[in-house]
């Protein structure tokens, strides 16, 4: 094995380790995006293969999580466009669940959060997942979503407001009163 081949193999190994390390985050992002564990895991595996095939375009030292999130996001959107895996979601059933929860005292159930997330538009859901859950700064989230930073801020703000209305009736009341004032 030549020195060049050896160096390339080492770089591949470093890349592979970094890629495998972000798989749990890719699964969380994909699950939030599409709401279906089976589809999410398919997306992640396909994203990993795409990332591996494109590894020479990855700049070492940059954020592997952000790079792979962008690949996953683009892959997800192209899958949606092909209508292969439309999310099987019943808004009426979700509404019933949310109304039931609003009448009860107690902590918020994660399943209700998932239902509420799926009621957001794909752009807002993605923005909230990147910034609110994934912890990306607005600038990096905007790069992943291929939009302007102002657009990303606006999407996050609107998503937060909508989610608050869905999940927190008290906050929703306050917001409505503020809007009236």
């Amino acid at each position: 094995m030549s020195v060049t081949e050896s160096s390339s193999a080492e770089k591949d190994e470093v890349f592979k380790r970094a890629l495998l390390a972000v798989l749990p985050h890719l699964r969380a992002f994909a699950r939030g995006l599409c709401g279906r564990p089976d589809f999410a895991d398919d997306l992640v595996q396909e994203t990993a293969i795409k990332a591996w095939a494109a590894r020479e375009r990855f700049i070492p030292g940059t954020n592997m999580r952000a790079w792979t999130f962008a690949i996953l996001r683009n892959h997800y959107l192209s899958e949606l466009r092909r209508n292969r895996h439309q999310v099987d979601f019943d808004p009426d059933a979700a509404e019933r669940l949310l109304v039931m929860e609003a009448d009860q005292e107690g902590p918020l159930h994660l399943s209700d959060m998932e239902v509420a997330l799926m009621k957001l538009s794909p752009e807002r859901r993605e923005a909230l997942l990147l910034v609110g859950a994934g912890g990306f700064p607005y600038e990096e989230a905007a790069r992943i979503s291929d939009c302007a930073i102002g657009t990303m801020k606006s999407r996050v703000a609107r998503a937060r407001d909508q989610l608050a209305r869905l999940l927190d009736p008290d906050a929703a009341t306050i917001n409505i009163e503020r809007e009236k004032a």
């Binding site: 939030g32 895991d41 591996w52 909230l128």
Partner: protein, 97 residues
């Protein structure tokens, strides 16, 4: 005998003089404090817009739920379907080569 008016005027005058002296002293102290501070240490500028702690205290309950949702998946063990991923990666590499 001094009239009530003159006594009152004297009293008000002395109070006004005292107030003026206090105001000058206070102003002098403030000026000395400001001059003794290094640039960029102005109190008005030192007040943070909104600290992370303050944001946390005003953060709605669902924001934590959203992070929990994300973290719960992050901390899940990878399903068995991922076992073959390394082989798939190698296969993809060989196909490309």
């Amino acid at each position: 005998m001094r009239s009530i008016e003159s006594s009152l005027a004297e009293a008000i005058g002395s109070r006004a003089l005292d107030a003026l002296a206090n105001w000058k002293e206070t102003g002098r102290c403030k000026m000395e404090f400001a001059l003794s501070q290094p640039p960029g240490m102005d109190d008005r500028k030192r007040t943070p817009d909104k600290s992370a702690a303050a944001r946390d205290s005003t953060e709605p309950g669902w924001a934590e739920g959203l992070r929990q949702l994300y973290d719960s998946v992050v901390h899940e063990p990878l399903p068995d379907s991922f076992d073959d991923l390394l082989k798939k990666l190698d296969r993809a590499k060989n196909e490309r080569d």
